[in-house]
Amino acid sequence: MKNLCYILLILLLAAAAFAAGQDQTDEPDEIQAADQAPPADPNDPNNILLEKYDVVIKDPNDPNEILWAKWNAVVRVLQSKDMEKKVKESLIDRIVTPIFDFPLMAKLVLGRKHWPNFSPPQREKFTKLFTRKLKDSYREKISHYTDEKASVKPLRKKNTTVIIPMNLISQGKEIAIIYKLRKIGKTWKIYDVEIQGVSILLTYRSQFDDVLAGSSVEDLLERLEKPAAP
């Protein structure tokens, strides 16, 4: 009888370990997450929330609709009162991640001047760190949202990309935002955002140019790994 108990216990532990291992392999790393939405697990409470707040985009060919639907989903999450901050943040992260092209942003921000000087592992590391920074900064910016009224204007086509202007009215002042999107497969993804004429990519590029003018790629990566100065 005692032996049976032991066997059962061992089996249970093994099953638990196996499940945990599977969980880990299921967890995509950040670069992958940027490329594709994480697999849906119907029992994960986060996914139930995601289903409730995220939208099904009827026409993935229409960049205007993608942007507007996602924006409204984010606003709904921000305005809901019965969620903790952490839950909101992870939910917003999962709503917007699929429409940003983080790997392209990382490549463009270094540009043809610096990107070729990075070895493949360095590129991967840089993409990961830069993606983290962009996500952090987006999360921080969106947390300031109060009750701004937004309106999306018709898009403009430019070569293979489209530009979608959006206006926010905040406390009597107008803020002009421009989203730049590019078609990937069947859907559109954002690769740069301009706020009041200030491009995120160019602002980061000037900083990387500045660092790389005086030090090596490894120095830059080391610097990116450190958390922001207080």
């Binding site: 406390q171 590019r182 690769y191 004429g197 602002t203 980061y204």
Partner: protein
């Protein structure tokens, strides 16, 4: 003596601005990379997007970097230790509608400068709109404390200043300067700011202390709307000095092009 010194400084900056402008013009004739490749492969597309970004890139001339960086650090501390806590205090004490009214008031008395600059830039329609706004807001908006010209008539203000006017007449941005208290600027905009001061009614208030106090309250009030903005920019960047410089120059470039 003091005014002479100022004059010399301005002239020096102006000449620097001109030389920088020439340099920018020369840079623009850089070779153009092949464009318009239909059905592009990923690499071509990368090149295309690269070209697009390069077009937007602004040449930066920052020979005063050590000075600017020191000034940036002074402003940084001034903001974090003095202006930000003060603005937070004001925000707690003064309700938002009152602060928005004060904002409208200061916006309204800056109308003469916008009006003149609109004319100087040949935007006579916008100038007319500014005049209309000023007359309407000063009367129906009760000395400009509210902005019925926008809410009732749909007249948007025309954000024009002397820096943009100078750009219109061909002045380059000149060197980048970080001004005490006022923050990032460049040779052209700094000169523009001095010029615009002559059209700022607050400047003519006497005694001088009162005039300065009014200007200070404008800055304080404006900052109650920007709490967190500066910290947000700093957090988002790896090198706040470089990020701020780039952001300022892009922001002004956009304003000039509009």
């Amino acid at each position: 003596m003091k005014s002479n010194l100022c004059l010399i400084l301005i002239m020096a900056l102006a000449t620097m601005g001109c030389s920088a402008a020439k340099k920018n013009a020369a840079d623009k004739t850089a070779p153009v990379v092949a464009e318009n490749a239909p059905e592009s492969s990923p690499d071509d597309e990368f090149g295309l997007l690269e070209d697009e970004l390069d077009e937007q890139q602004i040449k930066i001339s920052d020979p005063l970097r050590p000075f600017n960086k020191a000034m940036f650090n002074v402003n940084d501390k001034l903001y974090l230790w003095v202006i930000d806590p003060f603005a937070r205090g004001c925000k707690r004490v003064v309700p938002e509608p009152a602060r928005v009214s004060i904002r409208h008031f200061f916006n309204n008395i800056a109308a003469p400068a916008r009006f003149v600059n609109c004319h100087l830039q040949g935007k006579h329609k916008a100038a007319g709109r500014e005049l209309h706004r000023f007359a309407y807001n000063t009367t129906f908006g009760i000395l400009g404390f509210s902005d019925p010209a926008r809410t009732k008539l749909g007249l948007e203000p025309a954000e024009e200043d002397l820096g943009q006017t100078l750009a219109k007449y061909g002045a380059g941005t000149g060197i980048y300067i970080v001004l005490p208290v006022l923050g990032p600027s460049n040779a052209r905009d700094a000169i523009g700011m001095i010029g615009d001061q002559f059209l700022n009614p607050v400047r003519y208030v006497r005694p001088r202390d009162v005039s300065i106090a009014i200007s200070a309250s404008r800055i304080a009030n404006e900052n109650t709307f920007r709490i967190g903005e500066y910290k947000s920019l700093k957090d988002a960047s790896y090198d706040p000095y470089v990020a701020m410089r780039q952001a300022y120059l892009q922001y002004r470039d956009k304003k000039v092009k509009e």
